[in-house]
Subunit: 329 residues, 2 copies
């Protein structure tokens, strides 16, 4: 019998979804999107969970308890944003060594509370356990929505869009691992990794304006999350590698670490940007909405009826990548 | 600055509750009860989370993936039962070594699904991560309720009741740690530890019949959870140690391991029974309801206006215990 490593994350999730069959008619969407969608009264509930584990997702040499408190909420907020929802209530489960000073625990919860306040979330409960083997943080977040946007809605002819810039968090992590951070632009990249800004307002604007046909967050790398959106929608895409949005200083930062900037921005994880599709005739409206939100938005290419992904860039017709993003197994 | 071990769980939770202040008027009850209560439309949502960690809460020498899948839901179901609610939807976060065989993961999810089906719960999403350091399982459960029952409602003169029997799970764990399990009654005790039955139907009946004034589940030991109920209600109690309900064979099992049966049944953890208070004139009705549910229910004593806990038993007036139950720090 094969192990989870040998099978890979995509098939593992497929196996789980087969066992946990949806029987409840109140469940509009279960396993397989960024958050579950549940009909409850007149509105819909969005329900998601995400974890940060010491040694896997974070390293105490690079982060602080306060930033970690902010980030465990941010990664879950991004899932609600990816459904176009409004985040509301959270419960947190924290396992940490009993020898941890109270001051450290306080800093963690202050960070969590500051991000909760910024996004209108109330942390309503939790569970704290002793763990001899490092910190394990799990948060479950509830949101609400009048009109959720799913991965599965992309249609041939739609334009493919992404918010913000790509690769910053991956470059930030590489910078943290390599050396001391000195310049202003280096700090911007490490912040993208340590304290990402979830695109909650952008997701809500897309849902409320009925602008997006398909929507997902870029948490495991653009190519991998794009593939998930395309698979869910049963379509393909043409992606213009030259259009991939980079931060000022990103190119130079990559070169200084001998990293390929295109590879990093297409496959680096933890961007927490929104990737979405929209009909061509909504282009002006999208640009207007994002200009009002003061958030960069970039057209990356087009959705095609033929399955598969064509990537052009640097004058070449097709680029190939061995690794599309971050898989947990 | 003191560590969490030095401060103790009760004060740690107090510190967390101070930081995570409730600002949202939709939150009827936040940190400090078995589950949070949230107003959403015409009904209330109940929201809780609980974790099982390898090496802290379970040991692979004693349990199986299937039983563990059942138990992570059961411990959360008990929290919803302790509010008198109806459990509905869950998300699960699982961290486990990538070298785990797929078969083991399947067994875990099949166990989870079987218990979900038995209690009308739908698992709608989750998160699976690689963890080099053992299994970490966190589940968040949503329930609904028309009339939640809180810890804080016990009043002087009320009778104090408990469902089922106490100490079985603690004896079961002691048996597992000591030797092979051979007799039928030994298996009953180990089952109480490995595969507890949450009192969901009993909690719903208490809420629907408006029978209980105060309600909590006994997960960390009767004395500790009783103290929590009394503190939340601002009252005291007289507890009749001779009335504490024991399973057939419990006394003999304790003696064979040289364990004090009264101590074990008052302070042993993981009973997942319901402890509740009710006015004296509801006694007949309570007995009728539990007889219909085929669940044992026992009157343990009385609520007093004077704070503190008086325990009588074995002819003595007052019994004292150094340790009231299971604290995580």
């Amino acid at each position: 019998m094969k192990t989870l490593f040998q099978i890979g994350e995509t098939k593992v999730i497929g196996e789980i979804a087969t066992i946990l069959k949806t029987r409840d008619p109140s469940v509009i969407a279960g396993i397989g999107d960024d958050a579950a969608v549940i009909r409850f009264g007149k509105k819909s509930l969005l329900f998601t969970t995400d974890a940060l584990l010491e040694g896997i997702h974070f390293d105490w040499r690079f982060t602080t308890p306060n930033l970690l408190g902010r980030k465990i909420l941010s990664v879950n907020l991004s899932d609600i944003a990816a459904m176009g929802g409004r985040p509301r209530w959270a419960v947190i489960s924290l396992a940490l060594p009993g020898r941890t000073p109270l001051r450290v625990l306080r800093e963690f919860y202050r960070g969590l509370e500051s991000q909760a306040r910024a996004f209108g979330v109330q942390v309503v409960g939790g569970d704290t356990d002793h763990s001899a083997k490092g910190w394990k943080i799990t948060l479950a977040l509830l949101g609400e929505s009048r009109r959720a946007v799913y991965r599965r809605g992309a249609r041939a002819g739609d334009r493919l869009w992404v918010t913000g810039t790509l690769g910053d968090a991956a470059l930030g992590l590489a910078l943290l691992k390599k050396r001391e951070i000195r310049t202003f632009s280096e700090k911007k990249f490490t912040k993208a990794h340590l304290d990402p800004i979830p695109r909650v307002n952008e997701g809500k604007a897309l849902a409320e304006g009925n602008l997006a046909t398909g929507l997902i967050d870029v948490s495991d790398g653009l190519l991998l999350d794009l593939e998930r959106l395309l698979t869910a929608s049963g379509v393909g895409a043409r992606l213009d590698g030259d259009a991939v949005p980079w931060s000022p200083g990103f190119f130079e930062g990559c070169l200084s670490l001998r990293l390929d900037p295109l590879l990093l921005s297409l496959t680096g994880g933890e961007d927490y940007e929104l990737l979405f599709t929209a009909p061509k005739h909504r282009t002006r409206e999208i640009q207007r909405v994002f200009s009002r939100l003061k958030t960069r938005v970039t057209c990356l290419g087009e959705i095609m009826s033929r399955r598969g992904l064509e990537i052009s860039g640097g004058g070449k017709k097709v680029l190939k990548f061995a690794r599309k993003g971050y898989l947990h197994f």
